[in-house]
């Protein structure tokens, strides 16, 4: 299946993207827009997002994955990324994909922060279906955990440096000092003050789905066989189907997490099937 790297022009600068198209001359059955995680999670999930796009393509979708501004190979700086800029970029990417999909129904497939955006943008973009994988329900909680993860990482590095006989504060155990005012270094990824404020306001449970909500599938990725109470509440609020998958968190920098079961779960839903 062809994979075409390209740039999507936007007023804020070009966005790097890869368009996956089905083999042959048949028009795509759906137009699947993949929304990646944010921050450091995006880097770790890169390979999984490509795998998901390829799997959707085998079901006849044209699938587009892209880098929001300030990330990957797109224009801009990481510290300037905001939730609003991510939504603007997703909208530009959706318009681009639609123009190349012959009017096929739009399906949003988001992971982590991308899933949160997919749930918010689904009705706005007129999506037929939304797949939200491990959505971030509370931006404040995610921020707290990411700060904790950063602290844990520094703690681990400091421990190893101390074991090697290095002086305290040596090397990458220290916090970065080259960031703009109000910005933070979260697990090696700069995050700006406006993004921090926006995440503090992100609360999916406070925004139930409207009457125009797309058909939605929420996937909980966890060893739990039943939904967490918050996920169950989100499912009710979004009138969504909820599935639980016992997978490693592929948005963390693990060696080689297998997202095959996730891809197989999403494929029929994205294609419009009932299961």
């Amino acid at each position: 299946m062809p994979e075409t790297p390209l740039y999507i022009p936007t007023p804020a600068g070009p966005l790097f993207a890869v368009l996956h198209t089905p083999d042959g001359d048949r028009p795509p059955a759906t137009a699947a827009l993949l929304l990646a995680p944010g921050g450091d999670e995006k880097r770790a999930a890169h390979g999984a997002m490509a795998r998901l796009a390829r799997t959707l393509c085998t079901a006849g979708a044209a699938a587009l994955r892209f880098d929001c501004r300030g990330t990957g190979d797109s224009a801009g700086e990481a510290a300037d990324v905001t939730l609003e800029s991510m939504e603007q970029d997703a909208t530009a990417a959706a318009d681009f994909l639609r123009a190349r999909s012959g009017g096929a129904p739009l399906v949003l497939v988001g992971v982590r922060l991308g899933a949160s955006l997919a749930l918010r943008l689904g009705p706005v973009l007129g999506a037929a279906r939304v797949v939200a994988v491990a959505p971030i329900l509370s931006g404040a909680t995610w921020l707290r955990q990411e700060r904790g993860r950063t602290a844990l990482r520094r703690s681990m590095i400091a421990r190893e440096l101390a074991a090697a006989g290095a002086a305290p504060g040596t090397g990458t155990a220290s916090a970065r000092t080259d960031l703009p005012a109000g910005a933070e270094d979260l697990a090696g990824m700069p995050i700006g003050a406006e993004m921090i404020a926006g995440l503090g306001r992100l609360d999916l449970l406070a925004a139930p789905a409207g009457a125009d909500a797309p058909e939605t599938l929420i996937v909980q990725v966890s060893p739990r066989r039943t939904p967490l109470s918050e996920i169950a509440r989100l499912g009710e609020a979004q009138r969504a189907r909820v599935e639980c998958l016992n997978l490693e968190p592929f948005w963390q920098p693990l060696e080689s997490p297998d997202v095959g079961p996730l891809a197989e779960l999403i494929r029929p839903f994205a294609a419009g099937g009932a299961s």
Partner: protein, 86 residues
């Protein structure tokens, strides 16, 4: 006094599930160092902490995220007991 004996099996089960370890939870010692015995790195340890938050309904401030605090099942149980009053 927190009942660590009741918490420890739950902690070990959570560690096995979250880290996808191929060992029975009961084979993990209360004082086994997870870093040294299972090669747990900061990414895996973060998964344990997130799992604790989900399973026990607790939350940790960023300054509480330190390797030593979560290094063994007993230390983890003590942290959880301190949060829940178990």
């Amino acid at each position: 006094m927190p009942d660590l004996n009741a918490l420890l099996p739950q902690i070990k089960k959570l560690v096995v599930e979250r880290l996808f370890l191929d060992v029975p939870a009961e084979n993990i010692g209360d004082d086994d160092n997870l870093l040294e015995k299972f090669g747990v790195d900061s990414v895996r340890m973060f998964e344990i902490v997130v799992g604790l938050e989900e399973a026990f309904g607790v939350s940790f401030a960023d300054q509480e995220f330190s390797v030593d605090r979560f290094a063994t099942p007993r230390k983890i149980a003590e942290v959880v007991a301190g949060k829940t009053g178990a």
